[in-house]
Amino acid sequence: MRTSLLKLEVLKDRGTKDILAALLVTLVSIGFMSVTFFSSDFRSTMDTSEFAWPKLLDNILLMKVIIMPVFIASIAGRSVEIEDAHNMWNLIKSSGVSLQKLYFTKFLYCALKLFIFQIIDWIITLSFIHLGGMTQQAPLLLISTTFVSQLAISYMLLAIHYVLSLKWSNQLISTAISIIGALSGIIFLLLGSKFSSFNPYSWMGHLMTIGTEKTADGWNMYFIDQDPKIFILSLIIGTLILIVGSKLMRSK
């Protein structure tokens, strides 16, 4: 049953512009990172500096703080919008399909889509860095932990916006919250970790591994360890929201 529901989701999704939006997200991240990557300062030290790779990854993550909430809200919104458009919920109910099952299948489909988009995004980005002349070996451990944590945060944000989209058929609410979240996310990051720890929309920024401090000679860079709590908390919060949200289906 679930496989056929998943297949149906794929069919419903044909002709949407999600691919276009996903490509735009990748393009924007690469574009932003390119400013650092192709700067003469960076290129003069990129073969020797231990900060080279982390700096590029930090650039990508900073962009993701702003753009990912909106992109994720668009994926979640689109998934619900299709059913809301012609009040398909009633039709589905009358055809004997369990709405709870549909709820989780739709979410699973969105999560899979996001997962595939993120893999493609990283492949394109890493290829771009490699083709751009980076000779240092890629820090596979850092890349892997960043990738997995980003995926967990995306999962949580997807759960939030999926439930918001179900709660309010007017997609304006979920999208507006994603924009407010992105804005607060970036500002909380600027305010410091005491603030940004409490805002899930800032958490992608918490994966950044370079900090700066002002000294008498100027700005000095230092490494920050990635916090594994983010990964775990994202998974827990995302799952809790998903479970609580499933009760919304009863009102459909």
């Binding site: 949407t16 574009g31 400013v35 668009s74 689109r78 304006l172 999208t175 305010l191």
Partner: protein, 243 residues
Amino acid sequence: MKIFLSELRKLKRSSIILPLLIVPLISVIFGSLNFVFNREILTREWVSLITQVYLFYGLFFMPALIGIMCSYSWGLEHKRNNMKLILSSKTSFVKIVLAKTAVVFCIYAISQLYLFILYLIAGTLFSFSSPLPLELVGLYIVSSLVAGYLVCMQSYISLKIKSFTIPIVIAVGFSFLSILIAQNNVVTALKYVFSNVSVVLNMNAFPDTDLSQVDLIIMLIMSALVSAIFIGLQVRELKRRVR
């Protein structure tokens, strides 16, 4: 005027006002907080405060809000076959497109004014010793006006794409790309096309801006030109749908 009012009525009972109230408020509150925490670096009072309040807002979130408004405005027509009513109405497509664009632009202009009032309140609370530089106010007005082309462009995208959220992602993505293009200055003429970004970035460097009055006039003209192109494209799209 009649169509303008009817377009306005369509938005009257919507929740579109909420993001327009909340996003500028958040921008000013947290921009001010950031200003307070970094006062040893941010020493230029009004200028420093506007960099905290308006830089991210003007570059990313204002285009996204425009995207929301346009998406909502056309979203109403995409729903329940309303588009067919538009296509079969006696009113000319030019008037419909102009009315929709004008309504969004007016709401956007009010939100810009609202943000500026909040900024003034925040600045007053800080009791700055220097007066508010009038040139900065001028740049703010120009940055708001030149962003008019975004209204027309987003309106076109929202007419083409039925989804509510995809045009907003495009708005955010486009704002990033325009920053990259405007900031790198690879092709100088492009700073006039992505004029809203150029002005906001220059506000950040105020008073050392590299924009002359002639530049600002060219930007306003370019913005009007690009707006006209996108209005034309919207009319063409509606005509295409009739065929």
